[in-house]
Symmetry: C2
Subunit: 417 residues, 2 copies
Amino acid sequence: MRLLHVSDWHLGATLGRVRRRPDHERVLGEIVAVCADFSPDLVLHTGDLFDHPRPATEDLSLGIETLRRLSERAPVVVLAGNHDSAALFGIFDRLLDLGSGGKAKPVRFIPKARPAAKGGIVDFTSSDGERIRLAPVPFIHPNTLMEVFGVPPERWKADYTDQVRYVEENLGAGLSEGYDPSRDVLLFAAHLHVGGATFSGSERPLHITDTFATRTEHLPQVSYAAFGHIHKPQSLPGTVPGEYAGSPIAIDFGERDEVKSVVCVEASPGAAASIERVELSGGRPLVRLEGSLGELERHRHEVGDAILQVICCTDEHVPQLADQVTELFPEADIYDIAERCSAALVEVVTDTGEADAEPPLGDLFREYLATEETPAPAVDRAMRVFDDLLGAAEAETEAAFDEEVLFDLATVGKAAS
Amino acid sequence: MRLLHVSDWHLGATLGRVRRRPDHERVLGEIVAVCADFSPDLVLHTGDLFDHPRPATEDLSLGIETLRRLSERAPVVVLAGNHDSAALFGIFDRLLDLGSGGKAKPVRFIPKARPAAKGGIVDFTSSDGERIRLAPVPFIHPNTLMEVFGVPPERWKADYTDQVRYVEENLGAGLSEGYDPSRDVLLFAAHLHVGGATFSGSERPLHITDTFATRTEHLPQVSYAAFGHIHKPQSLPGTVPGEYAGSPIAIDFGERDEVKSVVCVEASPGAAASIERVELSGGRPLVRLEGSLGELERHRHEVGDAILQVICCTDEHVPQLADQVTELFPEADIYDIAERCSAALVEVVTDTGEADAEPPLGDLFREYLATEETPAPAVDRAMRVFDDLLGAAEAETEAAFDEEVLFDLATVGKAAS
């Protein structure tokens, strides 16, 4: 059987003010063309279809239209990633069910992992008559209690990795039940962080989850394990045959040197799959330039339509510097232009005790404001808002702002008491 | 043929802090039961399925599940209202198409009116073999240019009513083309404001649109015209057989005295329909009480689980008044409790020139703040925010707030220049 494995589209993503829509349109066109060439028996999207749990309708539209085009070749399965809304995926799947009247759907959204005994394993038939058995594990939030899997109470307090392992054991047992080595091709798919996988350049583990979710040793024995979550294309660590397909475009500057791709897999019953990467070039390059105006000018003809981050070094503050830089690169989409002016640099002394420890985020932000020459009263107000936001994020509550609170008090009056 | 006509569910609506979910769950259960009893050939929802263009997933879920249950009896057609997102309805319809593989869908979302020649008229077959021909007109925004209908340029500058009339003429001509009086039942459906229709109690025309969208004289000749938009159940003005089904629950206090219902229609080819209302009682009553604590207490046993707005009259300010009132009505859901304290009333002198003219909204709001005993500095800040919001709403721009502007300046720094 042939499997096309794609992942982490992040439709609706922006880089600062730069919208990635043109990159997505081009790269999705490439993926549809790869699919037509490869003619797979199954297309598997391992999550983060959208960048936001409530995507804009234009992003919904692009995503669903692309899945529809892929489904003209083969059934499509989409796992919910941590950026996707499982509830929204559930609604999509219900609309597809409603349309199909209970028959096989050309596209299938998987909002949540389900136990093998409750439909957690999905079967397909390949063009050669093989039975494809897929165990899908969409993103599992660390706060989720595994009630639906009937995790026994003594394991409720187990850590995240252990709970995910319970899910994998259940589905692994389901895959081996009635397994016919002459006919069955077993597949595993997940949107999870596997211990040992590596992140893109500047990405910090913080961006994904604090701890990895699973280990390759815990995965069921399958011909191919399809992973999503990490944007850098890579094989799974260890000996399990499987891949992180990676994102089709560089989502941020940490990924700017990566060659993006999709995975074309050919698998036979009871054997490890043969795996081939097909490169994608639809996303505009992300380019970071640093230097004086004169130095920048020398890169004029290399930049083209890249998305550009520029640090321009000056001796004295140059008025309208941003306009001058923008004129240098007329086809580029400017993500950011910063001036590093030697006359204005503020030296910030921070004593963090340990030399290696990261300073608190608040200090880093205050330092950043200083380098941006922010006036003192604005720094104080910005810091107050920043601290509130950070506190709210850490406490997982809604941030409240003075203006709103005051407005509520004034308008709601005594009714709020 | 038999038609069940429902409208204006406004799923996700709230009354202040009171969520209407329990009302909706009960009343939608009633509607499903009416549908099972009546056994229609077609179910027609004339718009405002949701209260918000980007509904919460729980509201999406309730809406789609209810439509699915109705579709077990008959095909369901849903028009987009002014509260719905036409784009989202388009995506729903595409998912249903994808699921059905191009076959007839059990539920059909109509995002926009289309010319008769481009599929703007939808045909169904009744259980008696009649051909049901439906011309649906979802909400047309006054700013929409009727390009898709090929309105000739000399009518581009025509007013809204005239443009809507053009749509109605087109669909009317489509209905009469190939019309077979022995077999065809013609239906019209719209989410529009018909001149002469009346609003609920306190609703002001401002809440709907400044001007009505169409006149009954412009409507095509049909057996039944199904309308949505106005929440008060009523027959169409004039001689056209048709109804505003109305909302199934009182959405706000202006509708508190209305008896809500759905419309059961029986129609035969070439004849006006027979129309019957079936009352709904699922929505909790909306009750407004005014009086002293003693007077309020006398209503104690009548209020039950109503949604309650209370004005409590006192001579001197009573501390913890809201708690005392809340205790009086333990089963009620309190929308608002206001104290009218004779010792604290501020007399506001407003000279508006004309005695009959409505004072500007800003003056009304300032007056309201005064009666709420808002402290002066808070009044000034609240008024500034109110004026900004009002100005932005009138100019159809995004409102900007000091806090945000300052924060942007501080954080984005020179990059924004």
